[in-house]
């Protein structure tokens, strides 16, 4: 059985939000209608998104790391959002494991959003139905597109190739190899939802102590062009 999924490489995500905007563009223009925005140019802009990039800071200064963290539906193998849906609008496809919503059957009761521990589902405040990532199901099977473009819009847009797409049940696929070789992990494993999407953890980087002394380090503009010597004495 096929299980399509995304694998996100946290080593190379730079937090540029290209995946967010390309997702929004593709899924705003599809046959399912727009992903509506409310007050997009006003004081409190809000809208429906399938994919968001968050930013986290780990560690204590100065040993901190900024982690950009893209977040979308994880297409769980045991999705808690599906059995709770009273109408069957929320379903998981047998053929490729994508969790989808039939917008024509959704009654907008929001129970599936309560049942998702990840907050991956968002109500479209204009259409009053639940929405979430479809893995660009209307794109990845489109025979009219060149083979290389039959991928989710976010994957194509990512400038650092931080997003891999493929069948995690095929041990020979790029995503399966990335997961097994680089320790791809699941979010909130404690709830046994078995998310199909995985994240590749950060690899330890070079120790700061091992870097050249300040001033000689070509990466350090502080050293080469010290515009504020007083700061260095403090």
């Amino acid at each position: 059985m096929t299980q399509l999924a995304l694998v996100i490489d946290l080593n190379v995500c730079v937090g540029c939000h290209a995946c967010v905007t390309s997702c929004k563009q593709w899924n705003d223009s599809g046959s399912a209608g727009p992903l509506s925005d409310q007050n997009p140019y006003g004081k409190d802009p809000s809208g429906t998104f399938f994919n968001r990039v968050q930013t986290w800071e780990a560690g204590e200064f100065p040993a901190t790391e900024t982690v950009h963290f893209p977040k979308s539906c994880l297409h769980c193998e045991d999705p808690p959002c599906v059995p709770v849906c009273p109408t069957g609008a929320s379903y998981k496809r047998a053929e490729d494991g994508i969790v989808l919503i039939d917008y024509d059957k959704c009654i907008g009761c929001k129970y599936c959003a309560w049942a998702c521990p990840y907050g991956a589902r968002e109500v479209d405040e204009q259409q009053h139905v639940m929405k979430k990532c479809t893995l660009c199901v209307d794109r990845i099977y489109d025979a009219k597109l060149p083979e290389a473009e039959r991928k989710p819009a976010c994957v194509i847009a990512c400038p650092t190739s931080a997003r891999l797409f493929g069948d995690v049940h095929d041990p020979e696929s790029e995503v399966s190899k990335a997961i097994s070789e680089r320790g791809g992990y699941a979010l909130m494993p404690e709830w046994e939802t078995n998310p199909a999407n995985r994240y590749l953890p950060r690899k330890p980087t070079t120790e700061v102590a091992a870097a050249p002394a300040q001033g000689e380090d070509p990466r350090s503009i502080d050293g080469a062009f010290d515009l504020n010597p007083a700061r260095g004495q403090a």
């Binding site: 802009p45 986290w56 059995p83 009273p86 059957k105 959704c106 009654i107 129970y111 521990p117």
Partner: protein
């Protein structure tokens, strides 16, 4: 969670209706086995009218929760897996049973026992469905306990039995003491189980952490941006936005208004022979139950909130 008024009214209104129905059936059964004198049929007809009214109002409130109420009929499909779907089936069936019960009494039919039995089954099933909608969600740890079902049952029956006593006080004074005492017992039992759930929830430790949510093993992780500047469905649906002090105030209000004051007032009303007070007691307790249900939702901490701690 952000408490939804539609669901607060749904659960409290149908709870009172279910309790009133069970109280009526209890009176009829007690009369049949000779524990008390038979009660005039108009008590059951009037009672069934009020039960139906409460259930229909609850059903109406539930429609306000939906984005597409015109599609609500679709919700009967997934009864095999969804407690919500089961509730959607059982609630109208129970309304039909209550109407049949009132009709059978109005017409003086002999089948009231059978109708009552079917009604009791549907009534209990409805309590189970309503409570399981919440307690089946395992990562909402505050709800994921059998105490949720027990509390929905005891608070609903306490409220409904009190309403039955208040109703009896208007024209059927002979059954008031028994109903009022039954309400007092149910309120005391509900006080015990609701307190147990408060104690349990106060001791809960969330299973999900920022570390498990992000997979970053560092002990200190701080969110710097959540991916949206002006809020989102995630910030609107899952945060109640009230202070801890406000929550504490609501908790003490409902403990007083649902349990302590009604219990004292019922005993006082019985002793003073002022059964007309019971209507006021029911009103006070219903206000308390609205607060109780609000608190029930507000207290549940959804693990998705870990992803929405800082705007930027």
């Amino acid at each position: 969670m952000k408490p939804a008024w539609s669901v607060i009214f749904l659960t409290t209104l149908i709870g009172a209706g279910q309790g009133l129905f069970l109280a009526m059936v209890g009176i009829e059964a007690a009369a049949r086995v000779g524990m008390m004198a038979p009660v005039a049929a108009d008590f059951f007809v009037t009672g069934s009218f009020f039960v139906t009214l409460l259930l229909v109002c609850g059903l109406g409130a539930s429609f306000l929760h939906l984005g597409h109420p015109e599609r609500a009929w679709r919700a009967i499909v997934m009864w095999r897996t969804s407690w919500l779907s089961r509730e959607v089936i059982v609630l109208p069936a129970f309304i039909a049973a209550v109407i049949a019960y009132g009709y059978a009494h109005a017409q003086g039919l002999n089948c009231t026992g059978w109708v009552a039995a079917a009604g009791v089954l549907l009534c209990v099933a409805l309590f189970v469905c309503t409570a399981m909608i919440y307690s089946c969600l395992k990562f909402l740890q505050e709800w994921h306990t059998p105490l949720t079902s027990v509390n929905f049952f005891l608070l609903g029956t306490a409220s409904g039995t009190l309403l039955a006593a208040a109703l009896a006080a208007t024209a059927w004074p002979l059954i008031v003491p028994r109903l009022a005492m039954a309400a007092a017992v149910l309120i005391a039992a509900g006080a015990v189980t609701r307190s147990l759930s408060l104690v349990r929830n106060a001791r809960l430790r969330p299973k999900s952490t920022v570390q498990s949510a992000t997979g970053i093993a560092n002990l200190k992780i701080v969110q710097k941006a959540q991916g949206a500047m002006g809020g989102s469905f995630n910030t609107r649906e899952f945060f109640h936005g009230r202070s801890t002090a406000a929550l504490r105030l609501v908790k003490w209000f409902f403990l007083l208004a649902v349990f302590v004051l009604p219990l004292a007032m019922i005993l006082l009303a019985l002793e003073q022979g002022r059964s007309q007070w019971l209507v006021v007691v029911f009103g006070l307790q219903y206000a308390g139950l609205l607060a109780e249900r609000w608190f029930f939702f507000a207290q549940a901490r959804h693990p998705q909130n870990l992803y929405y701690q800082a705007i930027s």
